[in-house]
Amino acid sequence: MIDIVGIIAEDFLNILLITLGGMLIALGVHLVPVGGAPAAMAQATGVGTGTVQLAAGAGLTGLVTAGFMMNVTESMALIIASGTIGAMIMISVTMIVGQWMYVYGVGCPPASAKVKYDPITKDRQDLYVSQGTEGHGIPTASFISGVIGAGLGGLGGSLIYYSLLSIENGLPEANFIGIASIFAIGLFFVNAVIPSYNIGGTIEGFHDPKFKKFPKAVLASFVATFLAAIMGVVAIGGM
């Protein structure tokens, strides 16, 4: 039988870091402009897919880039920075290609229906919103918000991955990395779904009124991730 209390006491810092990572992912999801199915028909602002898909795309890229950096260095700051940048690049590419589709394919200007003026460029928005839609495309404020959100998500994801890999155990290295990455992916999905329930599936970015609801999701994600983190640390630490 494994010494559960001993492992929790020994790795308590890792449990806290994993929980912090989960909360960062939950906050990050609130910043990514997710439009869902309406955006896929250019009837809402944001990228035309669900929160989970966007968060997973950005987060998994973050894990890959963090893992790659882990090959060459053991510096925590570099590994986490690499994961953050990876996720930011991924979401930027997704948003810019989506933007081309909206502008050149659908033929609509990027416009937000939630604010009258773009909070960053100060451009007028309401004149360009087509009737019957809730905006379309990805305006500058949403784009920048999305990059920040993906950065927070990638930061959280690589923090989880790094903390899991800092747990001492007797596993062969290949198995250890496999288990840690699948565990980080599982946590990523849970922490992407909880905030997407909070925002009701669509959000434009930090200028969206729904963004003010983020403390609730961060609290929910704190509880859920803490529970999962204890299980993960006990499972991996006991091996």
């Binding site: 062969p172 599982g186 849970v190 779904v193 609730k216 993960g232």
Partner: protein, 281 residues
Amino acid sequence: MSAGGGGGGAHEAIPQNKLIAFGVIGGLVGIYAAYFLVDIIGPSMSFLGALGAICSIVWGASAVRRVANYGLGTGVPSIGMLALGIGVIATTFGLAVGGIAGPLVALVFASLIGLVVGMLGNKVLNMGIPIMVQSTTEIAAAGALTIVGLSTSMIGTFMFFDEIVNGVVVAQGVASGVMTTGYIAVIFIAGGLAILHPYNANLGPDEKQDRTLACAFEKGAIAMILAGIVATITPFASGSITILIGIAIWYVSFSGYYKRVKRDAFMVTGSGLLPSKEELE
């Protein structure tokens, strides 16, 4: 909003309690039968694990159907990914600490996280879905059993670690056989899709329970065939029987699904081929 659903309880011909029993008992019996019979009879019995996974997939799809009918606001896929996300956490924990009781421990802890997430959804996020707590618990548990079942049929055991006698690996464990090799990604997507897709594909005012569940059987069979393909290249499980039985289940369930689609459709008619360029001019 992207999710469908009429904002009320779903009509059901088969009560959910029966489907819970079907999923839990069928899933556990399949997994344990595969584990013991692979030891006694041989690797060819590993297909039983996938049969157990199909039982839990049908249960999970039915729970998704019930909760998503209220309109989640996020689209149905999110809850399927939640199920497998929680499932993979609980499975890693359960199989690593549980030993022979691994699938049971995974089931219990997946239900626990599902319960907490469901309560957070209603109490903290104010989703206001009456069956949210029960459904998230069920979906998470079904996700965990799906992962354990498909893993068992891929490598012939649900033991987490390799069994090593005198320095020779006599049986591959889930850690090295499924997780390190990356087959867990196949399980994640095939199992997740099997749980989320049936309701996502059939939702609408004319959605019927038997049609959705027939679709779930069909998706479960596809996951079984995929597990069989993986099993062909692992030494301690037999792939061919899993693939054959998977194809048979797929054929039967797809015919059943198609029959129900024709039953529920107003009219099924052939549209013919697209007109040629000359005909259009």
